[in-house]
Symmetry: C2
Subunit: 715 residues, 2 copies
């Protein structure tokens, strides 16, 4: 990022490969490069950037204003219909939104609330009249809106929310009601202050003429909240400010409750379920379960967006920590005079470079997610299966990248020491803002369980067809196509049928096929093992089945992690092929190997227990990993520079070259002192016996002190 | 903590052991129980507690005022001489300070700066006249003081600081000078605003009559900073505010620089080194290296204090997460009506209970550290060896517990979902404040290296005496006494000479001897392996030796971690013996086993590679660990209640019983609805065919909507 930064690889010509930074940047920006560069120009504009130290009120007001400016100038409406000024470009839209995190995560998330959730729900769950009447004001932020789904009592379990929308055929209205405190809507952006309307989720209750009241499950309603002129709640509506949060304080999260608030029948966003004037319910999707998940399917956009933003936050963190690590000096190491830069320390490399590798893997994996998302949402590739694949992929990657962001930000913070703790160096604020990424838009743990259930379900369908005696062979031979290849990334992968091969060929851990075989084998085997353990649950009474499932919850989550890591590895490998320059390819291959071997090292016990690696071979995992760290170290600066962020995005004093200037000044001072001969000699150089030895009991030194004046005399 | 919280173990009499919470609390409070209870009364006083949402200026002013009130009423001066109103009680003093974190970490750390660093340095590095003239105002906070050691350019490497103190015999003054920007003092509490004086560390340069100028290394000087009346810097002194930080914003960290500022000769804190009026240097410690480390030895108090505070923060986090996990319900699991509480989920237990076990281990280990600290600082057990043991123990435990605090706070935050992100629930603020604990008062990574170096040095001394052929036998037979038993905790431990035994007896993983043998064996073997790898360094030129050391830096740090975990395990085991109640002992033993097996599981690959556990046996580690989680789950609330903190300390809405009240209200609502027969029936219960099927193409549903009014009609 800074032109002055040393890149040892460039300094030492010879056989050492070099990275073509610009070409790598282009590869990392991917098919949406142009849109991303545009969004980065926006994120680099000080008007959209966070100012630290604002009060909560000031920060909230600033972000609302930024949102309105974005609506006018920021090209943020790409996802919306062309007829309404949009571009019908879903993937491109999300690729741009994920860049806003660089300006201020509060801006990114408030934009997500307004356009990704509130307006998006009107678009995806509503029908033509809703689009015409409601979308324009939502798009322009003339109506800031809340996405009123989560309740104090129910976050992940949306199906169990308590708010009711009971149809009254007499007035052709829905009555929105909060029956108890736990059913208050909670944690909603725009609810505390700015929101004048909401898309509200409630249990839809209606009766066909002469029939009983039926609860048709969760549906979305357009519910106005405040008088735009006064900002006062409309009658029957109340709420609270969620107050100060750990981060994202530019967003006015709040709570809402409703006391028999009436909205017209037509405020039901009725794409997937409708109520006729007489109270008759109808839906194009007969299964209430499938209908519910179809409606919730629009939420996947938020997860795609968070995945992209989390990866971008990793990039910022690593630019800061690697740049500082290449300039900051501490302890002399093997030299008599010069101190070593931090990144030359083995442990510093061990802490930062695997995170760099994982950030690359996540970048490429995010690109695949974006492609799957665009395929489904554009309609170009929208089938039941591709929707499920998209859900699974998003549920795999969002937890992986949001947790990676927290680890990367924290490790980078610590790698920068006290300087990392200063707000001006950004790492602590980014951590605070991204913290909640791990639990909102789908709690990470819950999402990983969904992935595991999907892998199991895929496995189970095939599993049912073969007899028990064939299980072992099946596990080795066929699990891959059943369990894995449903997710879009994995379809093209060659099944590794012979586990024995993987074991033998592990001699070549640097070999891509071997890494792949080891990663695939782990997922396959885990699926088969968990399936076997859970098999009795398929026939047991509900409570017993739930207990069994619960006992294996941790295994399911580990399985989902293993699957996500495989997806990342494959995306990384596919990404390397998109780079032409041989030097860059070589360095990227080392980085991919570092990623793969880090995953394998983390799970080394599993490979040993399952006989996939011998003890001798397992030792070489760590030693080859160490070798990779040393090989990659000279390229670290290039690899973070290739993220393509400029100083206007990084905005951290310690990554601005200030540290290098300080170090150079200090070294010049000592050099000049040595050259002049004026330097005081070290006590160690004084012949022994020349230093007066005061009494061995330190207390005796006291006699030398008479009085200590209270003030210094300045020169 | 809340009386209403369910404790399943108490509810089901039979063979299930029960925890005597009060007795356990007493055991955890340890020998300093009375002092701790006193400090907790202070920490429970709202006057000393953090108010969230204050501006930085307000927070800083509040904490300064709190400090002055503490000086008058808080019994914070126990460590100081009885003659000056203290109690000469070092261990007791730190045991109390560590409780202040519960009120506000800013208060704890500012107290640490004032009394633990500034006043303490006057006491430990100064002599009688300093004590008489300077200590009273430092103790009373009439003189808020900075501890001016760290510079922008040098944190961990104190020996290399750039500030100079050059003696001028003509005026009998030291000239304090900052030669370049990197030598500015930085990150100093009290420097930005409140500090009127400092204890400043600088290179002492003086010449004996007729001799050359000699740099005698880093010494401490009392240097006034500001005019107390105006708050203005004294002439020649300048500085900057460090500005906003990731946390601890109640402390005014800042930077200082000095332009030939003169202080009287007697401002040198001269216990370990003095300068006579004619410029002659004298010291009771002839080796400059040993002198330097002796002076820095006083810093160990800060590490002891941070260790205690970090463990207390873990306790708060776990009280909050476990209490909420016992009340919060989500998803129905195996029941038709009631949702499950979070802590009944296997993964929730997997996330929280091992942290609970580690917090117990850290609590008991901290008690041992406090004992060692008090022994040395009281003079009761102050030898060169016990000082080194204390340093090593502090360097082992401070990194371990401060990292544990971050993991525990973050995991607890995530386990509480969105509620955990609200500032009112404390987890995010505690995380932000404790973040820097990992890198100040000794960077964790640097400290762990010191531990490893100590283990190696101890090993090396013995190693030199035997021939190369004896190495292998020596590793198995004698390493423990050489490498481990120097640290005070480990002296009483029986050496495990036969690794083969450990392997065979691993059949009983729940057996304490087996766990211990496995943990000891790992440390011994790692020491021996690293020593072997580093052996060439002892004879190589400096640069090569440094390279070799650097290549093995990660191994050294892993070794230090393994050592710290062994120390924790042993302290935990010793702690169990101090509890009399058999039920409590049993539960604590399970918890200790959970700790031990978690450590072994984390390092399972190591045990497998080194042939210490067979693959079959390794599998049982995880399954036994799962069994322990299920056994401990009913006791989780008791185990956090036993930390002995009241609502006035916890102060988190979600741990106040509010969640239980909400859940009870919601369940009562549904129960009443079911009983009344008024509940709408679920769509699934409606005979199929009764739901109108709108066109299969969702778009067709659009026809049902005519117009969507912009406002709701309230009831």
């Amino acid at each position: 990022m800074t032109a002055s930064t040393a890149r040892p690889a460039h300094a030492t010509p010879g056989h050492e490969p070099t990275v073509d930074v610009d070409a790598l940047t282009a590869a990392m920006l991917g098919p949406y490069a142009e849109l991303r560069r545009g969004a980065r120009a926006v994120a680099g504009d000080p008007r959209f950037q966070r100012i630290e130290g604002l009060t909560v009120a000031e920060h909230r007001a600033r972000v609302l204003e930024q949102l309105r400016t974005l609506a006018r100038e920021g090209e943020v409406l790409r996802a919306f219909p062309t007829a309404l000024g949009g571009r019908d470009d879903h993937g491109g839209s999300v690729s741009r939104f994920a860049e806003l995190v660089v300006a201020d995560p509060s801006l990114q998330i408030k934009a997500g609330v307004q356009w990704g959730l509130f307006a998006s729900a009107i678009m995806h769950l509503g029908t033509e009249a809703h689009h015409e009447n409601l979308l324009p004001d939502a798009m322009s932020v003339d109506v800031p809106g809340a996405f009123a789904m989560t309740e104090t009592g129910h976050g992940s379990d949306v199906a169990s929310i308590g708010t009711t929308a009971t149809y009254d055929p007499a007035t052709e209205e829905f009555v929105i009601h909060t029956p108890f405190r736990a059913a208050w809507k909670d944690y909603l952006g725009n609810a505390a202050l700015h929101g004048t309307a909401s898309v509200l989720f409630a249990q839809l209750i209606t009766a066909a003429p002469g029939g009983p009241a039926v609860n048709h499950g969760v549906h979305a309603f357009y519910v106005p909240l405040r008088d735009p002129a006064t900002g006062e709640f409309l009658p029957g509506i109340g709420g609270e400010d969620d107050g100060l949060k750990g981060g994202l304080n530019g967003i006015d999260n709040g709570r809402l409750h409703f006391d028999h608030v009436r909205v017209p029948r037509t405020n039901l966003l009725n794409r997937y379920g409708d109520v006729a004037p007489d109270g008759t319910y109808s839906s194009p999707i007969s299964s209430p379960g499938r209908r519910f998940f179809t409606m919730l399917g629009t939420l996947v956009q938020g997860r795609v967006s968070l995945d992209g933003a989390a990866v971008n936050a990793c990039k910022l963190a690593l630019i800061i920590a690697v740049t500082y690590g290449n300039e900051r000096r501490q302890f002399t190491g093997g030299s008599d005079t010069d101190e070593m830069v931090l990144l030359d320390y083995g442990e510093h490399q061990r802490r930062l470079l695997p995170l760099l590798a994982e950030t690359y893997a996540s970048t490429f994996a995010h690109e695949e997610l974006l492609k799957a998302f665009d395929g489904v949402f554009s309609g170009k590739n929208d089938t039941e299966e591709t929707r499920q694949d998209l859900e699974t992929l998003a549920a795999s990657l969002k937890p992986t990248s949001t947790w990676l962001a927290l680890r990367t930000l924290q490790t980078s913070r610590e790698a920068c020491g006290g300087a990392g703790f200063l707000t001006e160096n950004r790492l602590t604020s980014l951590y605070a803002d991204l913290d909640v990424f791990a639990t909102f838009e789908g709690d990470n743990t819950v999402l990983l369980q969904l992935v595991a259930k999907r892998l199991l379900t895929d496995y189970g369908r095939e599993f049912a067809k073969i007899d028990a005696g064939g299980v072992a062979r099946y596990v080795a031979g066929q699990a891959a196509s059943a369990a894995l290849h449903r997710t879009p990334l994995l379809r093209a992968v060659q099944t590794v049928a012979d586990v024995g091969d993987a074991r033998r060929s592990a001699g070549q851990l640097r070999d891509a096929e071997t890494q792949h075989a080891l990663l695939v084998d782990r997922v396959e085997t885990m699926v088969a093992e968990v399936a076997q353990a859970l098999r009795p649950a398929t026939k047991a009474p509900r409570a017993q089945a739930a207990d069994l499932f619960n006992e294996h919850q941790h295994d399911l989550i580990e399985l989902a992690r293993a699957h996500a890591e495989l997806v990342q590895w494959e995306a990384f490998t596919a990404g390397i092929a998109r780079v032409d320059d041989p030097g860059t390819q070589k360095v990227l291959t080392w980085l991919r190997d570092l990623f793969g071997l880090s995953v394998i090292e983390r799970n080394l016990a599993w490979y040993l227990i399952h006989g996939r690696l011998s003890a001798g071979r397992a030792r070489t995992v760590t030693s080859y990993l160490d070798r990779l760290l040393r090989r990659l170290r000279p390229h670290a600066q290039d690899l973070v520079d290739a993220f393509g962020y400029g100083p206007e995005h990084v905005r951290a004093t310690i990554a601005s070259g200030a540290e290098r200037a300080r170090q150079d000044e200090a070294r010049a001072y000592y050099r000049a002192q040595r050259a002049s001969g004026d330097a005081p000699v070290s006590e160690k150089q004084v012949p022994s016996g020349k230093i007066a030895r005061s009494s061995a009991r330190p207390a005796a030194a006291r006699s030398a002190v008479d009085e200590v004046p209270a003030e210094a005399t300045p020169a």
